[in-house]
Structure formats: C-alpha cells, structure tokens
C-alpha cells in the first residue's frame, strides 16, 4: 500500500491509454456562456476573482484622483465636504477590503493549485461562493456612492462618530453590513487556502520543499483566521449598538470608544501583513527565476514569513500611540513594531543577494521588482520612524502617514502584483504582454508614484492632517499638494497602460509565449489544460523543473501520478500534511448553480438589512441557506468506488472520514475562527469591566444564583453527551437511536441557550442599560446564534440520515456537525463561567 516515494517506478515508461485525455477533458469541461456562472474551476474563478479585484482597484483609484484634484489648490470647491468624506472612506475601504485582501486571495486561487500541481483547490464551490458573495457585495457597496449613501466615517469607522447619534443615516450600515459580510468571504478563502496547501500537495513535496509563495499564503491564511474575527466582532458590536442601543462604545453608559480601536487594530495591523506577505511570496518566486538561481537563504525567508505572522499580532497599539495609553505599554508596542522590521529586512537582503548571485534577465517584471525594492525599503524605513513614539506623536494622522502607508502598500503589494501580472500572464493566454508598453507603464507608475507620495512626507511634517477636504492657502502646503496631484495622474496613466496591455492581449494580440518563458523552476510552468496538469508529478526538490529538465515532458505524457480520471469524475490526490504521502483520491464537485445563488442571496440578505427591510431580508436568507444545502447535498459521497491505482504503485481509497478527511480539517480551521471571535467577546467583557467597573454589579445578591450556572453547564454537558451517544449509534449503524439522540441533544442545547440569558432578564437587566448588560447579553446572543446554526446542521444531518446518505462508512457530514456541536457546548460552558463567576471574583 505504501511504496516509498522515491520509487524508481516513476515516471512510468508505459504509454497511456488513448481515451484517458478525452475522459479528463470531458470531466473537467467548463460550460460556456451563461454556464460561466456555475463554474467552479480555480482557473476560471481565479481569473474572475482577479479581474473583479482589479476593477475595484480602478474604481477606488478614480476616487483617489478626484480627491487629489480637490486638493490640488487650497480652498478648492470641486468636491464638497460630504462628497469628499464619502470618497476617502470608500477609497480606503475599497482598497483595503475590496482590492488588497481579495486580490491576494484571488491570485492564490489562481496560482496555488498550479504551483502544487493539484487539479483544483479542495473546496471549489466554496471558492466560487466566496467570489460571488464578494462580487455582489462589492458592487452594491460601490453603488452606495451613486445614491449618496456611501459611508463617510473613514475606513477605520471610529465610534462614536459612526454611532447612530452622529451618523444616523444608512451610510455607516453600508460599511458595517457590507464589509462585515465580505470578510466572511475572505475567511472562506483562507480555509480553502490552508487546507489546499496542507492537503493537496503533489506526492513528495514535503513541507521543506514547499514553494515560498505557498508558505506565504499559508501564513497569510493563518493570519486571516486569527485577525478577521476581531473586526467581524467589532462590526457586529457596533451594528448592534446602532440598532438596539447596547452601549459597547458609549462612554456615558460604561462603554469605551477605545474598545473599537483595540478590536479594529488587532485586525488592522495583521491586515497589512496579510496584504504584504503574499506579495513577498510572489517576489520570492520571481526573483530566483529572473536571477536564474535558487533563492539565497530559503530557510531564513520561510522563518521570516512565519515570524512576521507572529509579530504582526503584537503591534496593533502602534496605531494608538496618541490615545493616552500609559507610556510603559506604548514602549512594548514600539519595540515590537521595530522588531517586525527584522523579518522584512531578511527578505529584502535575500532578494538582493539572489540578484547578486545570479545573472539578471531584464524584463518588465524585473523593473517592477526593482521599483518595489526601492519603494518598499523607503516605506519600511519610514515605518521604523513612526514606530518611534515621540516622532509618531507628530506624524500620526498627518500626511506623513499617508505617504508611509502608500509606500508600504503600493510598494509592498501593488508593484509585486503588477510584476506578477507580467510574469504569470503567459500561463493565462499563452501570450506575452508587451515589453514596450510594460516598460512605459513601469516608468510612469514608478515616477508618478514617487512624485505623488514623496512630497506628502513633507506636507505631513508641515502640519497637514489627513482626511481634510480643504486647507487654507497660507500654511506652505500649496506647492507640495499640486506636485502630489500631478504625480497621481501620471501614476494613473501608468496603471491605465497596464490595463490596456492586458485588454489588448486578451483580445488576441501579443507575442506567443514559449512554454516556460522565463525558465522558471516551479510547477506552475508545467503545461496544463482545463484539467490542470496531465499527471501530478512526484516532487523531490524545491525547483523541480530545474532539477529535472525532463519533468514537464514526463508529466505531459502522463508518466506521473493520476494521469487520468479513474472514477470518471473530477478528482485530485489528497496527501498527508507534512510528508505529502498520498492518502486518498478526493472526488471534486463540478459546476453547479447552488453556490452562485447562495452568493447572490447572501448579498441580497445583507443588502436588505442595510436598507432596513428587516422582514423582507428573511426571504433571501432562507433562499441562501436552501442554496447551500442544494450545493452540498450531492457531496460526501461515501466509498462509492473501490480503491484506485494512481500510479507509482499507489492504490488509495476514494473516501476517508475522521481526522484524515480534508473536510474535517476545514471545520477545525473554521472553529479556530469561531473560537477567536469568542475570545474577542470575552476580551470585550473584560475590557469594558476594566474601563467601567462601576456599571458591573457590586452586590453579589443581585446576580443570578449559582444554581443557574450549575444547571446551564449541566445542560451543555448533557447536550454533548447526547451527541456522543448519537456518534456511537452511527458507528454501529443504528439510525433510529442516532436520530433520537440528536433530537434530544438539540433540545438540551436549545434549553441551555434559552436559560443562559433568562435569569438576567428576570432580574430586570437590559442590554441597553449599561456596558455590563450589553456584554452579558452579547455572550448569550452569540451562543443563541450557534444553536441556530446547529439547528440547520442537525436538520441537514437528519435529512441525510433519512435519505440513506449517512451510515458508519459515510459519516463526514455527521462528524462536521459533531465538531461544531462539541465546540458550541464548550463555548457555552465557558461563557456561563465568565458571566456568573467573574462578577463574584471582581467584587
């Protein structure tokens, strides 16, 4: 069963059966026309995803041009204050949430399977759902500009400015609901990427042979898992405060505006590295190719990526140096902020040394990479400057920061992505983008960028604050602003040229590209088709195409793993997470309408909530849930084929369950997200207590008795016990005891969820009373939400049982429900312990 991976049986010298390619083509056939909406293939979804992100980049960029036009001269009245404030909010929000994060995930969706020689990502419909939700959400978000209803509270949305008192319109809701839900799609993408990298690598690609780009995406996706829940919780709290008046951020009632800042920046700083690391990963792939030698200090660069991931969670307070936090805490965050420049420096020197040790190929990508080095190093140095607390007291919220952040983000992310567009474009159309147009575009962008943003360092130090729609003419800022405005149009012209080049190429112009135009060493340059590579290569080094020049040919002749579609459907090999040994053959879902409709209806649901059609919003919610059930119903097929021969002497099953299943991994990652969100709620409770202990009960007598705690914990424990009983019944193939245990168990959970807030309601506590009431009921509401999700999951599990799709050898769906179930029980018990014991201890 497990021959060694260095088996000399590969590549197989035998000719392949002629119908194999036809079968592959048939099962991976992509529907044309309107069928594009049903597409799930990562090559198609990836392109749509990148294209949409670039569209949103262009729209956000146009807003920036309008702002620069307004600021070209002092006391200009091109844009009024309201329009300008909406423009800068939508520009920042659009660039961060609708361009930067989506585009790096989109590039991952497009490139990762090719780099890992997998036929697709492990959850193709999930990626497609994430894309459509993002697409519809993003389009409606930008449309809010047309109706003068766009958010105008800044991309950081600080309360109390964004509270219902100071922003009564639906503008802020567009941000909170629109962006809040698009973050869900970012999390879906992160789960996909983590499981994809850890479980769908080609046999033999042990972790130490993982391409750097995949490392960067793994770290980035891990950061999304731990960072995004914080902003989702923050938006949830603010939306609840706006609708129900629970005073999380209202100082008069024991809330604190700083709670938002902590949660927002706990997400917001890692966010910067979520954007930068994938770009750094792209650079680490391109530089070795363009220098024609392996990356210098490969292991150090991996270490730097992982280190950045860790450090980035310890920096958030450097956005809050001027909030009056005590000096000692500030010093810690100042030191951490400087420390994070170490891994960035390691990568910069690794790239420089790789160029130094290699012979550089001069192509457009090289130009963009060198431009990136220039801009990013400068941005990194100003980053060290603003980590210096006293300097930040001057620079904070001035144009110096505008300069710094654009140097880091445009330098650190946009230039590498544009280099990547020129570099990887041939994998898309098999034609090269124009070298001539590309170099023009580069110089326009590079000079335009520096002319725009370099003067801003100075205007900031001359006292110009950010986010002002106008300024007086006697402060010495006029010339600098005019220069910046001129530069911004030059930069935009460069971007336009790249778009024109891409359009021209997509329409059929452009020089045909050789198979591997830059002579790269990694797997994405193996010839591929709709079914990805013809066979999945056995990998034994970091640069397989350099170490085995015949590899492309061997793969194309079907000499490696899985040269066909043995079960006559889409499938890829799942390998073990560290050693990359083949484990099973995963059937992959094909085109479907379910995920598309789910994305559409989810967006519609949130749009209804935004415009306050609360009752109507139920309809798309129900339709979205129904669409999800429709899309997953024919998955979890069970062992419907005997183990298959995938080549190299390996015969692997087509179905596994339990911790080996990729589905189990995805749910575990989802629970990490969930747990982080819960941790943010606990933080909220404790933080508000430290700020306003006076609104917490000072008399134990007013608290619900400890019998409520004991009873509640007992109910959660009994609920978990019922699930264990159900699980045992599944294992013994006894459907009725399983169904009964599930129903009883669910009723126990329901009782526990209802009884959690009950004694507080009895005692007369209200959520709108104080920060204490808000925090207590928020924990209860969170638990109620979980029980609602479990209602859907349990109902679905029961439905599968009645449909005969659930038994001892086909229980992946059941196990997923069980994981969520046990997690929720544990979470409920922790919430009860906190709410009942903490006030008693704190008195």
């Amino acid at each position: 069963m497990t021959p060694p991976l260095d088996d000399p049986g590969l590549p197989s010298p035998l000719p392949r059966p002629p119908q194999e390619i036809a079968t592959l083509k048939r099962v991976w056939w992509a529907r044309p026309g309107i069928g594009l909406l049903t597409a799930v293939n990562n090559q198609r979804i990836g392109v749509l995803y990148i294209g949409t992100a670039l569209l949103f980049f262009a729209i956000s960029g146009l807003l920036a041009l309008a702002m620069r036009a307004q600021l070209a001269v002092p006391e200009n009245d091109l844009l009024d204050h309201g329009t300008y404030n909406q423009f800068f909010t939508v520009h920042g929000t659009g660039m961060m949430f609708l361009f930067a994060v989506p585009v790096v995930e989109a590039i991952g969706v497009y490139l990762l399977p090719a780099m890992l020689a997998a036929r697709d990502l492990p959850f193709p419909r999930l990626s497609a759902f994430a894309f459509w939700a993002y697409f519809f959400g993003g389009v409606s978000f930008f449309c809010s500009l047309i109706f003068d209803a766009a958010p105008d509270g800044g991309w950081f949305m600080y309360p109390p400015l964004t509270s219902s008192r100071f922003s009564p319109g639906i503008n802020a809701d567009f941000w909170l609901l629109g962006i809040g839900f698009i973050e869900i799609s970012a999390i879906a993408g992160a789960i996909e990427i983590i499981v994809g990298i850890l479980r769908t690598r080609p046999p033999g690609m042990t972790l130490d042979k993982l391409p750097i780009y995949a490392w960067s995406m793994l770290v980035m996706a891990g950061m999304i898992v731990f960072a995004f829940p914080a902003v989702i919780v923050a938006t949830l709290l603010l939306e609840i405060e706006r609708v129900f008046g629970w005073p999380f951020f209202m100082a008069e009632q024991g809330g604190d505006p700083l709670l938002w800042q902590h949660l927002f920046w706990f997400f917001g700083h890692p966010e910067v590295y979520i954007i930068f690391l994938p770009a750094a990963g792209l650079v680490s792939m391109m530089v070795p190719t363009l220098a024609q030698r392996p990356l210098v200090g490969h292991d150090w660069v991996v270490l730097a990526l992982v280190g950045t991931g860790f450090f980035s969670f310890g920096l958030w307070v450097h956005h809050m140096f001027t909030t009056g936090i005590p000096q000692l805490s500030l010093s810690f965050f100042s030191a951490a902020s400087m420390a994070v420049s170490v891994p960035a420096g390691m990568q910069v020197f690794a790239w420089i040394a790789t160029f130094g040790k290699g012979r550089v190929q001069w192509t457009v990508a090289t130009y963009f990479l060198l431009g990136f080095l220039f801009i990013f190093v400068l941005g990194g140095l100003t980053g060290v400057m603003v980590a210096v607390i006293p300097f930040d007291w001057q620079a904070h919220d001035s144009y110096f920061i505008v300069a710094h952040l654009h140097y880091v983000l445009i330098g650190g992310m946009v230039f590498p992505v544009f280099a990547g567009i020129y570099y990887w474009w041939p994998t898309l159309t098999s034609r090269l983008l124009s070298e001539r147009l590309g170099k023009w575009a580069f110089w326009l962008m590079f000079l335009g960028f520096n002319v725009t943003f370099f003067p801003m360092h100075l205007s900031g130090l001359l006292g110009m604050p950010r986010r002002v729609y106008t300024y007086p003419g006697d402060l010495g800022w006029d010339a600098l602003n005019m220069v910046s405005t001129v530069g911004s149009f030059v930069l935009a012209l460069g971007v336009l040229l790249v778009f024109a080049d891409m359009a021209r190429n997509a329409l059929g112009w452009g020089e045909p590209a050789p198979q591997n135009p830059w002579r790269a060493g990694t797997l994405e340059w193996i010839p591929n088709d709709t079914y990805a590579t013809r066979s999945i290569p056995r990998v034994s080094s970091l640069y397989p195409l350099w170490d085995n020049p015949r590899l492309s040919r061997e793969v194309e002749e079907g000499g490696h793993f899985l040269p066909g579609a043995p079960t006559n459907r889409r499938e890829t090999i799942v390998t073990s997470p560290i050693e990359a040994k083949p484990q099973y053959l995963m059937p992959m879902p094909g085109p479907h309408w379910g995920h598309f409709l789910a994305g559409l209806f989810t967006a519609a649901h949130f749009l209804c909530l935004t415009v306050q059609w609360y009752w109507l919003s139920i309809l798309p919610a129900v339709l979205a849930i129904a669409s999800v059930f429709w899309w997953v119903w024919d998955l979890d097929k069970g062992e419907d084929h005997p183990p298959q021969d995938i080549g190299g002497g390996w015969r692997v099953p087509v179905y596994v369950q339990g911790p080996e299943s990729h589905s189990w991994w995805a749910v575990v990652v989802l629970l990490l997200v969930d747990g982080t969100a819960f941790a943010c709620l606990i933080f909220t409770y404790l933080f508000l207590w430290t700020v306003s202990p006076e609104v917490w009960p000072t008399d134990v007598a007013v608290l619900p008795g400890l019998e409520w705690l004991a009873g509640g914990v007992a109910l959660w424990a009994l609920g978990a016990g019922a699930m264990l009983a159900a699980s045992r019944a599944v294992a013994r193939n006894r459907p009725w005891p399983m169904r009964i245990a599930l129903v009883i168990g669910f009723l126990l959970l329901l009782a526990a969820a209802v009884l959690q807030p009950y004694p507080h309601i009895q005692s007369g506590l209200k959520g709108a009373d104080s920060a204490y009431g808000a925090a207590v009921y928020m924990l209860a509401a969170w638990q109620g939400f979980h029980v609602a999700v479990l209602l859907l999951m349990t109902g679905y599990t029961l439905a599968r049982s009645f449909a005969g799709k659930l038994h001892a050898r086909r229980r992946v769906t059941f196990d997923n429900t069980m994981l969520m179930w046990h997690y929720s029980c544990g979470q409920g018990a922790v919430a009860l312990l906190l709410v009942h014991l903490f006030p008693r201890l704190a008195v």
């Binding site: 404030n85 150090w300 130094g356 006292g463």
Partner: protein
C-alpha cells in the same frame, strides 16, 4: 541599460537637489513641526533629524547594494547568506536597540507630568470648535478657539471630547494627543518663543474636520498675565449707542441660547463663549480671519461658510441689525 540608469541617476540627483531646496524654503509655516517653538517640539525635531539622516543613509546603502547586485557579475558579488543574516538580522537588531534607548529617553522626558508651577488649561473638542478653560472652580475662565499661554512655563493641557473623538495638535509646540469621550488625556507643553502657532484637529471627526483649527498665542509672562486679567473682566458696557443697539440685536436674535457673554443675559453653554470674541484672531475655529464684516457674514451665513456646523445661519432681513450686532461683538476685546 547603462544609458538608461545614467539618465535615472541624473534625474535622481536633480530631484534630490530640488527636494532639498523645497525643504528649506517650506519649513516655516505657522503649523510646521519643523519649526520648533518650544523644548518639546525641539526634542522631537532633533529625533526627526536623527531618523531622517540615519534612515536616508541606510536607504542609500541598501539601494547601492541592490544596484551592485543587479549590475555586477555574479562572481563579483560577495557573500550570499551573509547578507540575510548580517544585513537582515544583526544590523537591524543593533541599530534598533540603540534607537530604542534613545527613543525611550526622549519619550520619558516628554511625557513627564508637570510640576505644581504649571499652568493648567482644559480643552474640550466639539464638532467643530474648541472650548478652552483656565483654572477651575468659580475662578474658571472660559474662552474658545484660541489659547494664550506664557512663554517658558510648562502648560498642562487636559483634553476631553464633548461628542466624538478629536485630536489636539500644535505641531510647532509638540506632539498630538487624542480627545476621547469618557477619557481625560494630559499633554504637557513648554513654549519658549513668543509667537502664534496654529493647531488643528488631527483625528477625523466628521463633516467639517477640515475646518477645526485654533491658534496658540505664546506671550511673554507679563503680557500673558495682563491678557488673563483682561479675560477675567466681563464684557464692557457699551458707551456708543450704536454698539448698545448691537448688543440688543444680539440678545433679541436669541444668540444667548447657545453663547455666553459675561456681563449680559447671554448665558448659553453649548456654543463658544463670546465674552472677548473681538480680541481673537480667527472666527469659527480658524475658518475666517476675525473682523466686524467676517462676524456679520458668519452670523448670516454660518451654514454656507461651514456647512453642517452647529450654528444656524440667521438670514436677517434687516442689514443694520446684523451689522450692529457684528460691530458690538467685534468691540468685545
């Protein structure tokens, strides 16, 4: 390639030179952090120069290395992993540690609490103006949008917010501090050079964040005391009947619902105190230079000049009344 890079180098040099000239020419301005008017701003300016020179040198060195790496033949490029460890780990750790020691010393000095000799001023940020109070108790003195302080003596600002988050920033005198509802933050500044320093709200605070500025006027100690004594006096009784008519117009318009003018019946507290409004340099939080005409324009068209601000426009049909009220306000020095 050589030709193009040569061209880029010349361009870079020209740009550098031009940049330097702009720098020199542009440093002064009433709101510049590069023109220090006190010891706090000076300490930060010195730190800024250290950071710029150090950062600039590192930038040039790294770019030179990158240029050499790209253009030199591979066999002539020395070291490989040496750069990753030496340049990426050892060098930053050494320099950053040194920087931290320097930084913490400066930060500690700047955030030290003020002694008992300090002047205490409380500033509250409103959408979109500044409420300023000197001292406390019945002796408390209230003014708005302009802060007069003595040179050479520490001033401890206690900053608060009445509605949303604002930030108090006078670049010529030192760093900024946020004004957050529910918090009372403190900032100690020492101004050395008498003069006018412009300050501005640095935290985005809604529609008119751009028009929320103020002046800090640094006076020699004796002139400061004289100013303080004058401020303590209520508004003078107008002798000129035109001015008395202006006062009547002011009161009959209902301005007293929001504004206080000590010595009259106007005792509203939601808007700026106008007892000595005529003595201030600017109107409407740095929006207009002060004067009788500006006052009249502001009363008639506050919503046009600064849309969405809390003061309604008073479209007074009777131009005489309007001018009289403005003239009286202007006389309140």
């Amino acid at each position: 390639m050589g030709r193009r890079s040569g061209h880029a180098k010349t361009m870079g040099r020209t740009a550098g030179l031009a940049g330097g000239l702009v720098w020199l020419a542009a440093c002064d301005g009433p709101q510049s952090a590069l023109q220090a008017g006190g010891r706090d701003a000076e300490a930060i300016l010195e730190l800024t120069l250290v950071l710029f020179i150090g950062g600039g040198a590192i930038f040039l060195a790294v770019m030179a290395l990158a240029g050499y790496a790209v253009f030199a033949r591979p066999e002539r490029f020395p070291g490989a992993r040496f750069w990753v460890i030496g340049g990426g780990i050892v060098f930053p750790i050494v320099t950053l540690t040194a920087l931290q020691i320097y930084e913490f010393a400066v930060a500690r000095r700047l955030s030290a609490p003020a002694g008992p000799e300090a002047l205490r001023v409380e500033v509250t940020g409103h959408m979109w103006w500044w409420d300023v109070r000197y001292g406390d108790g019945p002796e408390q003195l209230r003014t708005a949008n302009e802060i007069v302080i003595p040179a050479g003596r520490p001033v401890e600002f206690t900053v608060k917010a009445a509605d949303v988050i604002h930030a108090f920033w006078v670049p010529g005198l030192g760093g900024k501090i946020d004004m957050i509802p529910g918090h009372a933050n403190r900032l100690v500044l020492v101004a050395d050079k008498p003069g006018v320093y412009r300050g501005q709200c640095a935290e985005y605070c809604g529609a008119q964040h751009a028009l929320m500025a103020f002046d800090v006027i640094v006076e020699p100690p004796d002139r400061f005391e004289a100013w303080l004594a004058n401020q303590r006096r209520p508004a003078v009784e107008p002798v000129d009947p035109a001015l008395a008519a202006g006062r009547e117009a002011f009161l009959s318009l209902g301005c007293g619902a929001c504004h206080t003018v000590r010595g009259t019946d106007a005792a509203g507290a939601t808007g700026p105190d106008l007892t000595h409004v005529g003595g201030r340099r600017q109107l409407a939080a740095g929006t207009l230079p002060n004067g009788a005409e500006a006052l009249a324009g502001w009363i008639a068209g506050a919503q046009h000049i600064k849309p969405e601000n809390r003061m309604p426009s008073f479209p007074i049909a009777d131009g005489d009344n309007l001018r009289a009220a403005a003239a009286w306000l202007e006389s309140l020095k």
